[in-house]
Amino acid sequence: MYNLINFMWFIFLLPLKQNILKTVTKPFLSFTMKLMKDYNLKGRDIYMKKLWMMAILSLLVFVVACGDQSADSEADSGEGGGDWEPEQNIEIVAPSGAGGGWDTTARSVGKIMEEEGIVDTDIGVVNKPGGGGAVGWSYINSTNDPHNLFVSSPPLIFVPLNGQSDLSYEDFTPLSNMIADYGAFAVSEDAEWDNLNDLFDDMKEDPSSVTVVGASSPGSMDHMQFVKIAKAAGVDIQEIKYVSEQEGGALTQILNGSADVYSTGVAETVEQVKAGKIKVLGVTSEERLDGDVLSDFETAKEQGIDASFVNWRGFFGPKDMDPAAVAYYEEKFKEVSDSDKFAELRDQYGWDEMYMNSEEYQEFLKEQNDELGSLLEELGLGQ
């Protein structure tokens, strides 16, 4: 809403002088002229009729234009009570473009909430891409409205730790975590390694003999999930060569041998493994995953490397939210998490159930932040 008003102002302020005014007012002028003509020709009745129509129309436009604003002002007066109910539509921000993991999670959860009647109000999903999430976070921070939520995952920890955002997880209220996703390390089908230990043995000898490729920038998810596992296996993590390929060409680099190891999400590997193009050396989950190809992937733990990495995903609100509102959202997200529809969805995307309420989530995030922060520091990336 805020942005829309801003945008409208921007158009009005354009120094277009009279030209644009003329073009806008011209149809109105000609309409009035026609009315006057009608009045002369056809008599007063038709004239009055048309005048009424115009009055009703402009009233309608006025009501529609004001509708949004009145909703905004009501929201302010409703805070602070014992029980909390949303007084306007809930907006879930996906701080990324359409089609990504955040977007999918936000849209599917929103859809289930509406379709299953878990929430009475409408739920809108808004994309606010930019800054690896930072643009969306600063939007939530600046609107500070309990009806505006956002979806997030480990980048909420990584991006601030890398000094790319002033806002961190502590500036928001964690509401509920919903799902867990895991990382996978894949190599070309004809690569010499068959499991993580083969790979890490080579890397212990010469860490720079292997190039790792991922879609995120250094110090973010694809890089750090590999670093975390490699460190547990005893590799000198400062020497690891990591290439970031953000245009979607990471898999290409594995297939043509430009890079050796592909650090990515489990779901991204399934099709290629089925087609026999790549093999997965290991996954970062604690236990074996379910699913037809997924269950063949050995975890790092099974291979004797004591480390795991969770790509958690959940929902957050602005800082200092009314505890009653937090309780409200906790309950609703729990309902979604327990629904059959969401279970179906988890199976479809290969996600694991990982519900945490606000308090557990807060605790979990703190642990994550400490652990990943020290890892980044060791790499010389943290700030």
Partner: protein
């Protein structure tokens, strides 16, 4: 036998009543959205995704593909008529299309664009059909060193895009490179030239720069020179009919660029933009009258338009046969596939042949529809130019603002657009060409990433850049394209003396 069966199945999908209807819906929506300055295939596909919920996957995807190439087809319109390229693939079309429209031949320019788009689209669909599974290998044959060489070749275009002063063209290109470095550096995660604002972390979007330097700068120019009577001729549409000479002129570029554009489209990351630029410069290089380029040459419109449409079909090779999205647009396409429960990848052709071949077969119909729809519509579309100047200028500004705002719904981008509009106007005032700026901006970012990825993998050894035949030959071609014009000039000087 399998492939032939699949193809038959594909044609059944495409030629069913439902198939034809949705192809039609797709291409019409695509062209309409594509024609708006500032809205390209990405927005077109994103807008259409919700429409496909609950539809039969193959029909839905046939429609989405139609939206995609329809938008590329229609994208040239705003480049030609308003100098407002909506997607990076049609920037090169504006180089000659807009001068042609200004000369009072808008109808002709649009007709050339429509016919060459159709040719590029159709020839490349044939290639797609014949070679899609086999070309999967080609798509992955390019690693960082090869991409670096390819971008380098693209950059040699700067020398041919300079009108007059080469120094000014190089300065303009340098500014483009500088603009490309803004944002978070992918290889280190460091933010560069963002002045502490999160709005710049992702860098500047291409559309902001293209619409600023071309559309807004042009608008400034028109407003400031509004009393100049010589500019008023622009509202002529001119004759639609192409003369025999025109068709003859187009034949060469269309044939060559259909193939070249397709191959460049197959490479993930290269796509329609590079195809159209490389198409434009190769045609300029081999043309008998290269001096006509940039002033409204028939070949100058035909080449990039053929190439970008051919590249669009080419981009389906890595998407369908590998599951690799080669560009932002195909990434959104991939999203559309996933929404419908289809996972593109090496197995698609076996598991869902009706989807794989259905999309390819539907492209034949789609391209024919586009041609039939567009040719008779040209006089009406070109009437845009008949709108009174003040109104037209306001419309261009509003559409540019909407287009830029819809990238990430941030007002910050709108201010950037204005800044680039002013920069573009000043550049024009002091006769710095804008084309090298935008070329350097598009290629510079990719070239830097490719170079640094290659050097990270090699541990800093530069030899990796010349370690295989593809990159060596691309670099040799780049070197030749610098040297040959010099020799030509030398020769000319000698003969003139």
């Amino acid at each position: 036998m399998g492939a032939l069966d699949g193809l038959m199945q594909g044609f059944q999908v495409a030629f069913s009543l439902q198939g034809i209807m949705f192809v039609l819906i797709g291409v019409v929506t695509g062209t309409l959205i594509g024609m708006m300055p500032g809205l390209g295939p990405i927005s077109a596909i994103a807008i259409m995704i919700p429409v496909t919920y609950g539809m039969d996957p193959s029909t839905a995807l046939v429609m989405m593909a139609g939206v995609y190439y329809g938008a590329v087809f229609g994208g040239s319109t705003s480049s030609i008529l308003l100098n407002a390229p909506g997607i990076s693939g049609t920037v090169a079309t504006a180089f000659d299309g807009y001068p042609m429209a200004q000369r009072g031949e808008a109808g002709k320019a649009l007709a050339i664009a429509a016919i060459s788009s159709f040719t590029g689209g159709t020839v490349s669909v044939v290639l797609l059909m014949l070679f899609a599974p086999a070309l999967a290998q080609v798509a992955v044959s390019f690693g960082p060193p090869q991409y670096f060489a390819l971008m380098f070749l693209g950059l040699t275009a700067i020398s041919s895009l300079s009108e007059g002063s080469t120094i000014k063209a190089l300065i303009s290109a340098t500014l483009g490179f500088i603009a490309a470095t803004i944002g978070m550096d992918a290889q280190t995660g460091t933010t560069r030239f963002t002045f502490g604002t999160p709005n710049l972390i992702e860098g500047i979007d291409f559309l902001v720069i293209a619409l600023g330097l071309f559309a807004i700068a042009e608008v400034c120019f028109l407003i400031i020179n509004r009393k100049d009577k010589s500019l008023s001729k622009q509202s002529d549409i001119g004759n639609l009919k192409l003369s025999k000479e025109d068709l003859k002129e187009m034949k060469g570029p269309m044939t060559r660029q259909s193939f070249l554009g397709f191959i460049l489209g197959v490479l993930p990351g290269a796509g329609a933009t590079i195809a159209s630029f490389i198409g434009y410069i190769t045609e300029k290089r081999i043309a008998k009258k290269p001096e006509e380029f940039g002033k409204g040459s028939v070949r100058g419109v035909a080449a990039p338009e053929t190439a970008n449409n051919a590249a669009t079909s080419g981009a389906f090779v890595p998407l369908l046969s590998l599951g690799i999205p080669g560009s932002g647009t195909t990434a959104v396409m991939l999203g559309a596939f996933l929404v419908l429960g289809i996972q593109p990848g090496p197995l698609l052709v076996q598991d869902r042949p009706e989807v794989f071949w259905g999309i390819i077969a539907s492209m034949y119909i789609g391209n024919v529809f586009l041609l039939i729809l567009n040719l008779p519509l040209i006089p009406y579309i070109a009437k845009i130019l008949k709108i009174s100047r003040p109104m037209l200028i306001s419309l261009v500004i509003i559409f540019s603002l909407i287009g830029v705002y819809s990238i990430s719904f941030s007002t910050f981008d709108l201010y950037l657009l204005l800044i680039f509009g002013v920069i573009g106007y000043l550049m024009r005032l002091f006769s710095f060409p804008a084309a090298p700026f935008i070329l350097a901006f598009i290629l510079g970012g990719m070239m830097e990433q490719a170079l640094r990825q290659a050097l990270t993998a090699s541990g800093g050894n530069l030899a990796i850049l010349v370690s295989d035949p593809i990159s060596i030959s691309l670099l040799i071609v780049s070197a030749l394209s610098f040297v040959v014009p010099l020799i030509r000039i030398r020769k000319k000087d000698v003969t003139q003396d």
